[in-house]
């Protein structure tokens, strides 16, 4: 009994360690490869190396690596949360896991309806990946969500899902839906259809990137302000950036914490709403009914 408990504890500790290690690796990579400079610098992700590919070379950048780190950490978080599940004696972490799943289920059910209950893990994945990616800024890493390519990938997947569910009643029904309500509005409908993923991607990417840009600008501005106010004093007081203490932290609470979580929520929300509203549920039910009738008649 006791040795079992000990081994349980050891596995727990290992899982927690594996959860933290990816972030430590990320920090190590960042420190090792980031060129140090005092200038104000607004640049994209660091390129570690480039792979030759058709059409376009593939640069493996910080955004890809950090995404993978997040995925690994979340994987071990899942293992940690589900370690030692029991139906009779739930532990605290099990309550946490159940609560999170219930929350996601409620969200999906209230926004998409019962037909889409399979979307719970997908919506949860969007939220988790987005939140963790955005919050990487808190430990000084490059947030993958401020790379347009990353968010565009998610939006593309969402667009594929939207189109898939719109096609459920057949391609003819899908094409007809563009002539709604009046056929000559079809070009506008097509534009709005294509704009959906683009707007989703740019909204998320823009918000996170603008947050970091503003943070950098404010930090630089505060440095300049300190120099202007105290620069004439010789020695330590003149060189130390007093105004940079505290104020960037408050900004960070908004731009990194609040905005990161909010954008993740918005992205998940839009995903659910676009997929649920794009799916012609009534027509699909009718079609299934007709199919059933036909089958019954044939039998």
């Amino acid at each position: 009994m006791k040795s079992e408990e000990r081994s349980f504890r050891i596995v727990d500790a290992l899982l927690l360690l594996m959860m933290i290690i990816p972030f430590l690796c990320g920090i190590a990579l960042h420190v090792m490869f980031k060129p140090s400079s005092d200038d104000i610098e607004i640049a994209g992700a660091l390129i570690f190396f480039t792979i030759k590919m058709p059409f376009q070379d593939l640069p493996i950048t910080e955004s890809q690596v950090n995404s993978w780190l997040v995925i690994i950490a979340v994987f071990f978080l899942c293992l940690f949360l589900t370690h030692g599940l029991s139906a009779t004696k739930p532990t605290r972490r099990q309550h946490l896991a159940e609560m999170a799943i219930e929350l996601a289920e409620n969200l999906v059910h209230s926004n998409m309806g019962d037909y889409f209950s399979g979307f719970v893990p997908f919506v949860a994945a969007i939220m988790v990946l987005s939140v963790f990616s955005s919050l990487l800024t808190l430990i000084g890493l490059y947030p993958p969500t401020s790379d347009f390519n990353v968010v565009a990938g998610w939006a593309l997947l969402v667009f594929i899902l939207i189109t898939y569910y719109k096609m459920k009643c057949g391609p003819v029904h899908y094409l007809k839906s563009f002539g709604d309500p009046v056929p000559f509005l079809a070009p506008l409908n097509i534009i709005s259809e294509v704009a959906t993923p683009i707007s989703m991607a740019f909204r998320h990417y823009g918000n996170v990137l603008s947050g970091s840009v503003i943070s950098v600008l404010v930090a630089a501005g505060l440095q300049g302000l300190t120099k202007l106010a105290l620069g004439r004093i010789e020695g330590f007081i003149g060189e130390f950036p007093f105004f940079q203490i505290g104020i960037p932290a408050i900004l960070s609470i908004y731009f990194d914490l609040f905005s990161g979580c909010l954008q993740a929520f918005i992205f998940a929300m839009l995903t659910m709403l676009y997929i649920a509203t794009g799916f012609p549920e009534d027509d699909y039910k009718e079609k299934m009914k007709k199919k059933k009738m036909k089958l019954q008649k044939e039998n």
């Binding site: 490869f33 980031k34 060129p35 607004i42 640049a43 994209g44 992700a45 660091l46 390129i47 570690f48 590919m53 059409f55 376009q56 593939l58 640069p59 950048t61 955004s63 890809q64 995404s67 993978w68 995925i71 979340v74 994987f75 899942c78 293992l79 949360l81 589900t82 599940l85 029991s86 139906a87 009779t88 739930p90 099990q94 896991a97 159940e98 799943i101 719970v120 893990p121 997908f122 949860a124 994945a125 969007i126 988790v128 990946l129 993958p144 790379d147 347009f148 390519n149 990353v150 968010v151 565009a152 990938g153 998610w154 593309l156 997947l157 990137l209």
Partner: protein, 168 residues
Amino acid sequence: MQSSDVISINIWQVIISLLNLLILFLILKKFLYKPVKNILAQRQQMVDENFEKAKKAEEDALSAKASYEEKLAGAKAEADEILKKANKRAERKSDKIVSGAKAKADDIIRQAQNDARLEKQKAQSEIKHEITEVSTMISEKILEREIKPADHRDFINSFIEKIGENDD
């Protein structure tokens, strides 16, 4: 080390990110959603089972209660009957005893009356005899001479009998 541009579009990166999301979706589904759902289903099943058991136990208890009540009512009726029977028997017995006692008492009274009467008669005859003797003696003393008791007794006896009749 180079940095990419702030806005750069790379198809492969987009595809990698898409696959990342898919992979995370599968991870969450396989390692978090399914196990927790299983546990929840198990718990639900256990709760259902317990509920079913409780329901069954309640039903059993109710039926047992009903049968006990029925038995109790039967026992009460039986007890009533037994009591009634015992009462009747006791009444009959007491009646018998009382009537027997009465008869006995009557007997005793009758006998006592009889005895008294006999006693009375005996006493009367004794008294008569004594009076006869006494009077004989008295008359002897008065007359100072011997009288023939035989002659005299007849006379006195007749006299006393008259007194006795007057007495009665």
